[in-house]
């Protein structure tokens, strides 16, 4: 995609939808952030007006330190061979999000997955509460950063006994110079 048309388009979007954080990662990928209120219209416009007709995927990044989920909609324009990543930041505390299941046929599957993996609710998304990958899950949604999968696995599934390991440095200290090195407590 030539730079000029891209810039014109982004300029237009900036005026209409107040997009921010525009980053050109490589010639074929640009991402930006848009507020939730504009996002649905923006995505529909991108699809219908700018010919970003292909939804590569939809996913979510957990920025636990900022208290936000960043939803990512990756759209692709086959004619211009260009991808646009649309970031929509929402609160981690159960904020409901618009659904794009009317725009793409596979979108509801993504939304169902995100509901299960992050606990995000999408308004009117079909079959949202059906199990996707998990079954009988009784913990916090596993893809959230605060979920410690190793700890959980250890507690629920256990490990086979008979393992123990030494740290070379500590082992050598005990074996070779127990009274030396470092401060004496």
């Amino acid at each position: 995609m030539n730079e000029k048309t891209l810039n014109t388009m982004l300029e237009k979007l900036k005026q209409e939808f107040d997009i921010s954080d525009i980053v050109e990662h490589k010639p074929r990928l640009t991402t930006f952030t848009v507020s939730k209120q504009h996002a649905e219209t923006l995505i529909r416009e991108l699809r219908d007006r700018e010919a970003y007709t292909h939804l590569n995927f939809m996913t979510c990044i957990d920025y636990i330190e900022d208290g936000i989920f960043s939803l990512v909609y990756m759209l692709h324009n086959y004619g211009k061979k260009h991808s646009l990543g649309v970031h929509v930041n929402i609160s981690r505390n159960g904020e409901e999000v618009f659904s794009i299941h009317t725009l793409w046929a596979q979108a509801w599957t993504y939304q169902r997955e995100l509901r299960e993996m992050y606990g995000i609710r999408f308004t009117d998304s079909p079959r949202l509460d059906e199990d996707f990958c998990l079954e009988g899950w009784d913990q916090i949604p596993p893809m959230r950063r605060e979920f410690d999968t190793k700890k959980f696995s250890h507690e629920r599934f256990g490990h086979r006994e008979g393992r123990s390991s030494e740290v070379p440095r500590e082992h050598m200290k005990v074996q070779l110079y127990p009274n030396r090195g470092g401060d004496e407590e």
């Binding site: 980053v23 990662h25 490589k26 074929r28 990928l29 991402t31 699809r47 219908d48 010919a51 007709t53 292909h54 939804l55 590569n56 995927f57 996913t59 990044i61 957990d62 990512v72 990756m74 086959y78 004619g79 061979k81 991808s83 990543g85 299941h101 009317t102 725009l103 793409w104 046929a105 596979q106 509801w108 599957t109 079909p126 079959r127 199990d131 996707f132 990958c133 998990l134 079954e135 596993p142 893809m143 950063r145 979920f147 999968t149 190793k150």
Partner: protein
């Protein structure tokens, strides 16, 4: 292309009706609910279809996945960048190398590593061999789904010959773990080229026989013609990619459209078909298998014999990749396979999303195409979409 876009976007087409089928009253006794899978020979891998039948006609289909869910994206967030490369190949069991390549490529892109020329060619060869192996297994699967068990015996054996090549080249049959961030792990062993050419020759010959036995077969034709017709208007709204889309006449192939590795130096054209049914897709894949053999031969012809196969690397034990975001993709046997990666400058990746083409093919597309099919054809339809459940649920 533009005309197609305009057409699909009018909104009047049936292809744009994504609504879920109405639930039926099971207690009426008119309908039967039937689970196909996960323990069922007619299913591609460990997944299941919840079918609602009226007589032996399917009126509703729900795909259930998650039987192979291992939480890769979570696991990758707690492994270092070098450790992840051994994990990713397990995401799609029949096609590990696409994962290896895309993961490595994403990491290289974010950390600004340029891989040497020889690694580029070795990777290309590796990916093409994988495509061949995967297609061979698929042809066997499609034939088996229509009840002909001769072809799987041929194609799976030839796939095994390709796996023998992999074993020589990479040190393993299934999980090669050969393409590593920074390059590849080794050059080609001695005499590899000759053996690879022999396998290509015999496989090409075998494909001719398959064409004769399977494609010119009255039963196959009767069962697959008209089965699972993909309306070309569905392609964009359903996100259909790869051979499934090309069989409908849509010339999209990432190897050509957005060339990666050495594909811009290879001589090939995008193959397209015009039958949008299961037979058309099978034919499409047979031709692409042949194309793959041709590409492998080209790779062997032009493979640099010496030079480094690994870029200068930092110490991988505490490798920090600069903060960034990227989406890389490649054309796997089923279409666009992509890795979306976000890093935050630490030793661990912040988020990886793996985009597999089966995600939509096996759920949204399958659920729609299944409606109206005969129960006996559901296995054939499933296979004809070429889906691998592990890449859906990861």
């Amino acid at each position: 292309m533009t005309s197609l876009n305009r057409h699909t976007l009018t909104g009047h087409s049936a292809a744009l009706d994504f609504s879920q089928p109405e639930p039926v009253d099971l207690s009426s006794g008119k309908y039967v609910k039937l689970w196909q899978g996960p323990q069922h020979p007619g299913i591609t891998g460990n997944m299941s279809l919840e079918l609602t039948l009226e007589g032996d006609t399917i009126i509703g289909c729900k795909t259930h996945v998650g039987y192979l869910h291992r939480g890769f994206e979570k696991l990758m967030e707690r492994r270092t960048f070098i450790q992840n490369f051994t994990v990713v190949c397990r995401i799609a069991v029949p096609e590990p190398t696409f994962n290896e390549y895309l993961y490595s490529h994403a990491v290289e892109e974010l950390s600004g590593i340029e891989i040497p020329d020889r690694a580029v060619w070795l990777r290309t060869l590796n990916l093409e061999l994988m495509r061949l192996a995967s297609f061979l297994m698929w042809i066997g699967g499609q034939s088996g789904a229509f009840g002909m068990y001769t072809v799987p015996n041929w194609t799976l054996s030839h796939r095994d010959f390709v796996l023998d090549l992999f074993e020589e080249m990479t040190g393993a049959r299934i999980y090669h773990m050969y393409i590593v961030p920074g390059g590849v792990r080794a050059g080609l062993p001695e005499g590899f080229e000759k053996r690879a050419r022999d396998v290509m020759d015999s496989t090409e010959k075998m494909l001719g026989q398959v064409e004769r036995v399977m494609f010119n077969n009255a039963v196959t034709k009767a069962r697959s013609r008209g089965l699972g017709i993909i309306d070309p208007e569905m392609i964009d709204p359903y996100g259909i990619v790869g051979p499934n889309a090309r069989a409908c006449g849509v010339a999209r192939d990432l190897r050509k459209d957005e060339p990666y590795l050495a594909y811009d130096q290879l001589d090939f054209d995008i193959i397209t078909g015009h039958d949008c049914d299961a037979y058309g897709r099978a034919w499409q894949r047979l031709q692409e298998t042949r194309q793959s053999i041709d590409l492998i031969r080209q790779c062997l012809d032009r493979m640099p014999v010496d030079g480094p196969f690994q870029a200068d690397m930092p110490n991988v034990l505490h490798w920090k990749v600069p903060a960034g975001e990227t989406y890389v993709k490649a054309e796997c046997t089923r279409g666009e396979y992509g890795y979306y990666m976000v890093t935050d400058g630490s030793e661990y990746v912040r988020r990886v999303h793996v985009r597999g083409p089966s995600y939509t093919h096996a759920i949204a597309v399958m659920e729609r195409l299944a409606v109206g099919c005969n129960i006996a054809d559901i296995a054939g339809l499933m296979v004809s979409l070429h889906t691998y459940p592990p890449e859906i649920e990861r």
